[in-house]
């Protein structure tokens, strides 16, 4: 990281720099037809130039917006850079969004051009074309199934680059001149935040903000051109943009695009990334896989696993943090590394990982410690789209399960009396696009960004987030009620995938539970419980007993914390369907939309509080092809024992 990047204030300029300094080093890999194909920085610079010239030939001007919709594909990332080179603004959109969700951003930003991955995305854009008159051109990467499309807006990627070559030949000075015109204050991209309320907002980020944050974190972790990253999360999410676009552009490392979303695990094993990001749910899914496979292993292997995981649980984290550990434990850990942790890291594709992050949701302490104990340097970070991600990162050796670490260089934190976290940082967003009112609400005159998160800084200077400020409420008797805190505690059980807690302005707290179909299914199989599907599984008495135990454990846990002991969960029910973003119950980043769920299942919530032991429900579901159907079921409601603080203490 000793490279001099001064004067390189935009991504296209950084690209030109890498093409010159490390033109033959890998920049991006893609698994195509079963073989990893590598594109060097030199290749990338050439391709970006072709796309940029092609866009210019078709009338793309400075300040125009271009939608990028698709999975992690090299051409999608190149289109982003080409747009920036022309002084345009790339707008990445979630590739799994339904067509109607795409209409608003396109109308809002008056997007005229779109680069999309395949027929699926083209179909969606054509569907909303009548509502989006601004959309003039759609370029597609994958031509499969596209032969019979005759719409004049459509053009193949190859055609675009061919046009670019012609244009470049006729105007050889055009591209370098356009790149030189750019400056750090220009907009580098616009990211629509998942709208938990009303329309999504377009967050405008400048080159300067993104480059500053990408560099600050890269310096802190010592990233360089030899690092490799697997790009497997949606590119429209700011984090993916940072890890697979901004950071490689400042450090020159290589990103790898998996073959398809189903092959991520095996692709990860093949690549062996050195720098890794995963939201808690991904880490959890991997651990569940490991646990399930261990349960089916031979007695000897199970025994070894049990023994060495206990050793790792005792000393693994301390060894990773460089703290003193006794000689015998060290020896056993080294032995465990040989027979258990090493092979396990290899199976997970994490043999080479030197920095791994998790963020987005609170991570279960057991889950977090599991990864650290087997020698993976998993750390937490805090940030959002508005802050170009990096606000807080846990430094090596100072990692705790329940905080997100101290502020990264350049960031200032402070709190309002309501415990709301305010942030000032060079990475802050410029504005919400065409929404001065929302901008003014979020960012005050002195440049403090109001996060909406409630939290505090602990004695070691680490930030701890409890919940959203607006969600922290009280029960009728005045007890503090932090729904997300309860939900997270519930979700830390492997059998519970999602939970929704209710209690605001009510006498007591109650909850909806979503089962983890895989874990509970396996559990049921082991007990010879037969079931026909999720709905059936969710209504079994044995499953209710299983979940009740979990809820009661949470209650016992809560009883130990005096401020929130009063918000123990009195009653719960297991929902008859898995909550899904397509039904509006989760956001695209899979956060529960508590308010919406409360309205949609108002009868269920009422039943939780009126003492009934069962309730009939009918719910609309949306299939992946857009059709709707309905599921009806009789749901049981179960009471859970609550604990008194004294009893909990005795038990503990």
């Amino acid at each position: 990281m000793s490279e001099d990047l001064s004067g390189l204030d935009t991504f296209p300029k950084l690209l030109a720099h890498h093409a010159q300094v490390r033109g033959a080093r890998p920049a991006i890999r893609e698994k195509d037809l079963g073989i990893w194909q590598t594109h060097t920085w030199g290749d990338v610079a050439r391709e970006v130039r072709r796309i940029a010239c092609g866009l210019a030939a078709l009338g793309f001007r400075r300040g125009d917006h271009l939608a990028v919709i698709g999975d992690n594909r090299p051409r999608m990332y190149w289109a982003v850079c080409a747009t920036q080179a022309l002084g345009g603004i790339p707008v990445p959109m979630y590739q799994d969004a339904v067509a109607t969700e795409m209409a608003y951003p396109i109308q809002n930003a008056e997007i005229g051009f779109a680069v999309v991955e395949d027929q699926e995305q083209v179909d969606k854009l054509l569907e909303i074309l009548p509502q989006c008159p601004s959309l003039k051109r759609i370029f597609y990467d994958e031509s499969r199934g596209m032969r019979h499309y005759t719409q004049e807006q459509l053009m193949e990627y190859e055609k675009l680059t061919a046009l670019g070559d012609e244009y470049d030949k006729a105007h050889p000075d055009f591209y370098p001149a356009e790149v030189a015109k750019g400056s750090g204050a220009d907009t580098a991209g616009m990211f629509f935040t998942s709208g938990t309320t009303s329309h999504p907002k377009g967050v405008v980020l400048t080159h300067a903000a993104l480059i500053d944050r990408a560099l600050a974190a890269a310096k802190m972790e010592g990233l360089d051109e030899t690092d490799e990253v697997l790009a497997y999360l949606p590119p429209a999410w700011i984090g993916q943009n940072i890890f697979s676009y901004a950071q490689p552009f400042v450090t020159g490392y290589c990103i790898c695009c998996p073959e398809s979303s189903e092959t991520v695990m095996s692709d990860m094993r093949e690549i062996g990334p050195t720098y890794y990001f995963a939201p808690p749910r991904v880490l959890e899914a991997m651990l569940t896989q490991v646990s399930i496979r261990m349960e089916d292993a031979s007695a000897l292997k199970r025994g070894l696993y049990g023994y060495f995981m206990a050793v790792a649980g005792r000393v693994g984290g301390a060894i990773l943090d460089g703290k003193p550990v006794g000689g015998f434990d060290r020896l056993m850990y080294a032995l465990g590394d040989l027979v258990m942790y090493g092979p396990l890291r290899n199976v997970l594709g994490m043999s080479r990982v030197h920095v791994a992050y998790t963020a987005g949701e609170a991570i279960g302490p057991d889950l977090f410690r599991f990864y650290r104990s087997i020698g993976i340097n998993l750390k937490q970070l805090y940030g959002s789209t508005e802050t170009s991600v990096f606000v807080c990162i846990q430094p090596d050796g100072q990692v705790k399960a329940d905080t997100v670490g101290p502020a990264v260089a350049g960031v200032e934190l402070k709190f309002t009396p309501q415990r709301e976290l305010l942030i000032r940082s060079p990475g802050l967003f410029k504005e919400y696009y065409k929404n001065p009112q929302a901008t003014a609400e979020a960012k005050d005159a002195e440049g403090w960004f109001h996060t909406g998160d409630a939290g505090f800084v602990d004695p070691d200077g680490h930030l701890k987030i409890i919940d959203r400020v607006k969600d922290v409420g009280t029960l009728n008797d005045g007890t503090l009620f932090a729904p997300k805190y309860l939900e997270n505690k519930l979700k830390f059980f492997p059998y519970i995938k999602e939970a929704v807690a209710f209690g605001q302005d009510r006498d007591k707290a109650c909850a909806f539970i979503n089962l983890d179909a895989e874990a509970v299914g396996n559990w049921a199989e082991k007990r010879n419980l037969s079931y026909s599907g999720y709905t059936d599984l969710a209504s079994q008495d044995a499953v209710y007993d299983l979940i009740r135990e979990c809820v009661e454990k949470v209650n016992a846990d809560l009883a130990l914390e005096p401020e929130i002991a009063g918000s123990q969960i009195h009653r719960f029910l297991i929902l008859h369907k898995e909550m899904d973003a397509d039904d509006g119950e989760l956001t695209r980043t899979r956060k529960v939309r508590r308010g919406y769920i409360g309205e949609k299942y108002a009868t269920l919530v009422a039943a939780l509080y009126d003492g009934r032991s069962s309730v009939h429900v009918e719910a609309q579901v949306r299939y992946e092809d857009g059709r709707t159907g309905s599921i009806s079921a009789d749901l049981k409601i179960c009471d859970a024992k609550t604990s008194s603080p004294q009893a909990a203490k005795r038990a503990a």
Binding site: R144, G145, S260, S266
Partner: protein, 262 residues
Amino acid sequence: MSQTRNVGDVILNVENVSLAFGGVKAITEVSFDVREHEIRAIIGPNGAGKSSMLNVINGVYHPQQGSITFKGLTRSDVDSHEAAKQGIARTFQNIALFKGMTVLDNIMTGRNLKMRCNFLQQALWIGPARREEMEHRRQVEEVIDFLEIQHIRKTPVGRLPYGLQKRVELARALAAEPEMLLLDEPMAGMNVEEKQDMCRFVLDVNDHFGTTIVLIEHDMGVVMDISDRVVVLEYGRKIADGTPDEVRGNQKVIDAYLGVAH
């Protein structure tokens, strides 16, 4: 490799074919034709002789009477490996894959006829055999990509769910780069979503590779949606032949499926 789909001349002509097993007449004097690049369905109630008809076309059964003309070559009798060499590939009603082998290996067997090297060269994996295998592997990967089964490439077939096994079987047939593909109930036993996927793949194969497709299917919705022309058999005889609309309105077909009041 992509060509524009354009229904062309007759590629297969079945003329006056009769097939009997001892005293049981499976097919009686059936004639129909299949044009290049079209999707042709054969339907009929159980025991109508549909699978027997496919078996006659690719040479598993030898008809007692009548002739088959494929790409201008008339024959009354042909062995199935010769049919395969001429460019006919098929899938089976009961999946016929090698359960213990991986998806990749299963699909590689579809390239068997295209392999030039002898047994010894392949066993030692020397020079030409190696180059050849790489080329075949590339072709197979194209098929894997096309049918979107990358994630199960290395999985033994026996561990896959039924719907995916069907897709692997289609992949193996496609790997032979056939001119004509015979599909024996490709959607049997599938749920709605799997059926939709399979329909899309059948249409894509037909569209992208220009492969002529003859399929047997019980799901009338599927047949009427994707086929260009339909032959209807009942008790081994042809009772109707034409576009889906013509067949749908044919009284004999309605009677065959719904029964007649006596």
